[in-house]
């Protein structure tokens, strides 16, 4: 009776004009801000966080999934200097991840084709 619609955990709510990503700059800390990404969970948030940690211009990055029934994540980023804004590092992180995923697709297709050629019947085992 009170159960929310399951589809709302991954579809944006059009009635309330929900935006996918919003940003609010941190008032107390310099070069920092929080991105609120709606209808996402650990799947994407942890990926972005670990990628951002590889960026030398990022001083701090962390994310929160406030509650399993609340479908959004808050990703807080602080950059090391004012020349680089948090949104820039996040953009480059998504770029890098998109590139890595394309790489994975080609690697995957190559590996499968190589396997199928080596085991012509399509069924076999390694070693």
């Amino acid at each position: 009776m009170n159960a929310p619609e399951r589809a709302l955990s991954f579809l944006l709510d059009e009635d309330s004009n929900e935006q996918k990503i919003t940003y609010s700059a941190d008032t107390k800390v310099s070069n920092a801000g929080t991105f609120t990404i709606n209808k996402e969970d650990h799947t994407v948030a942890n990926l972005l966080r670990m990628q951002l940690l590889r960026d030398p211009s990022v001083r701090f990055v962390g994310y929160i999934h406030p509650h399993p029934l609340i479908h959004r994540i808050d990703l807080k980023i602080q950059t090391a200097s004012s020349t680089v804004a948090p949104i820039d590092v996040l953009q480059s992180a998504t770029e890098d991840l998109a590139g890595e995923t394309d790489h994975l697709i080609t690697q995957m297709t190559e590996a499968i084709n190589k396997w199928k050629k080596e085991n012509q019947s399509g069924i076999g085992q390694f070693n």
């Binding site: 399951r6 589809a7 955990s9 991954f10 579809l11 935006q19 996918k20 990503i21 919003t22 940003y23 990404i37 650990h42 799947t43 994407v44 942890n46 990926l47 966080r49 670990m50 990628q51 590889r54 960026d55 030398p56 949104i87 996040l90 953009q91 480059s92 992180a93 998504t94 770029e95 890098d96 991840l97 998109a98 590139g99 890595e100 995923t101 394309d102 790489h103 994975l104 697709i105 690697q107 995957m108 297709t109 590996a111 499968i112 190589k114 396997w115 199928k116 085991n119 399509g122 069924i123 076999g124 085992q125 390694f126 070693n127």
Partner: protein, 325 residues
């Protein structure tokens, strides 16, 4: 310094229902994201709406509708006869511009089984027994879409039924319904889950400190070999040295036994261990088993494509956000 990683994939075994592979040169977050996507966000087809015309069976309408929803539905590649990714072929019903449903976003199945009518076709000795209504009775209106009756030929040979059993009917009972299948993801309902199991484990990094091991007696080394329930260590017959087993990566289960035994063997507690077994930080052994709706390699490809689309979508939203700042 480029921040983009360069992952590598090596396939260990590939069957229609299962794929095992090694993912390396990348972070645990990628491995976990792939696992979560395969379980929750790969789109598949499953029966979503059922219209009952006739149901005089022992199970009520919603019970049968629930069972129908759980039947794996295959989108077939008629050339290779494999279940493939349905993501491009169908639209999700929220995106489709039709009013209720259309062939672009849904597939209709019909089922009409009447015990008295079908009974005459059965052999004489079986005519008194109840009849199983199975997934083979579902007739699709789309030639590319069929229910997945069995996982593989082995299962089919061992089974008693002709397909997935829906309900058993007896004399005078009749089941007639129309079922509509739609595309969806497992986040909405588990019936859309394409995998039975999608897991990964860490590659074990086993280091044997030869210097310290040479201070051990033969019996002590044999003790170290025997204490591991997963048998990852071996004693080389010729040299008497401790070596790692050939297929240790397959067997390792990261138990505490080895560590605890070494605590008792060490001269001082702060000494280094003779043998250490650690999780690798960038090499993972994946095992993905499908339910029969899609071939395992297609589940994997679909999950990587879902990730790619998600990254591109987020990037476009970020571009808009930056413009409006």
């Amino acid at each position: 310094m480029s921040k983009q990683r360069d992952p590598k994939i090596e396939i260990l075994s590939l069957y229609p229902h299962e794929i095992k592979f090694i993912l390396s040169d990348t972070d645990t977050s990628i491995a976990n994201t792939l696992r979560r996507l395969m379980i929750a966000e790969v789109p598949t087809l499953a029966i979503d709406l059922v219209e009952f015309h006739e149901n005089t069976t022992v199970l009520n309408d919603e019970y049968i509708a629930h069972r129908l929803g759980l039947i794996p539905i295959k989108y077939m590649d008629l050339v290779t006869n494999r279940g493939i990714d349905c993501n491009g072929a169908f639209l999700s019903h929220t995106e489709c511009s039709c009013e209720h449903r259309c062939p672009r976003c849904s597939v209709e199945f019909e089922l009409d089984v009447n015990f008295d009518v079908m009974n005459v076709t059965r052999p004489e000795n079986e005519r008194d027994l109840p009849m199983s209504v199975t997934s083979t009775s579902l007739k699709s209106n789309n030639e590319y879409v069929v229910p997945g009756h069995f996982l593989n030929a082995e299962e089919q040979n061992e089974a008693h039924d002709t397909g997935i059993s829906i309900v058993k009917i007896g004399p005078g009972q009749h089941l007639k319904l129309k079922a509509i299948a739609r595309m969806g993801i497992s986040k909405e309902h588990a019936k859309w889950c394409p995998v039975a199991v999608a897991t990964y484990r860490f590659w074990p990094e086993i280091n044997i400190n030869d210097e310290l091991c040479s201070t051990l007696t033969h019996e002590q080394k044999q003790q170290l070999v025997d204490v591991c329930p997963d048998r990852i260590l071996e004693l080389d017959e010729v040299s008497g040295k401790l070596v790692v087993a050939e297929n240790a990566w397959e067997l390792a289960t990261f138990t505490e036994d080895l560590k605890l035994l070494q605590e008792t063997m060490k001269k001082r507690p702060e000494d280094d261990d003779f043998v250490t077994v650690e999780h690798s930080q960038d090499r993972f052994i994946f095992c993905v088993e499908g339910t029969g709706a899609m071939d395992a390699e297609d589940i994997l490809m679909s999950s990587i494509k879902v990730l790619s689309d998600r990254m591109l979508y987020l990037r476009s939203k970020l571009d808009i956000l930056k413009e409006n700042m």
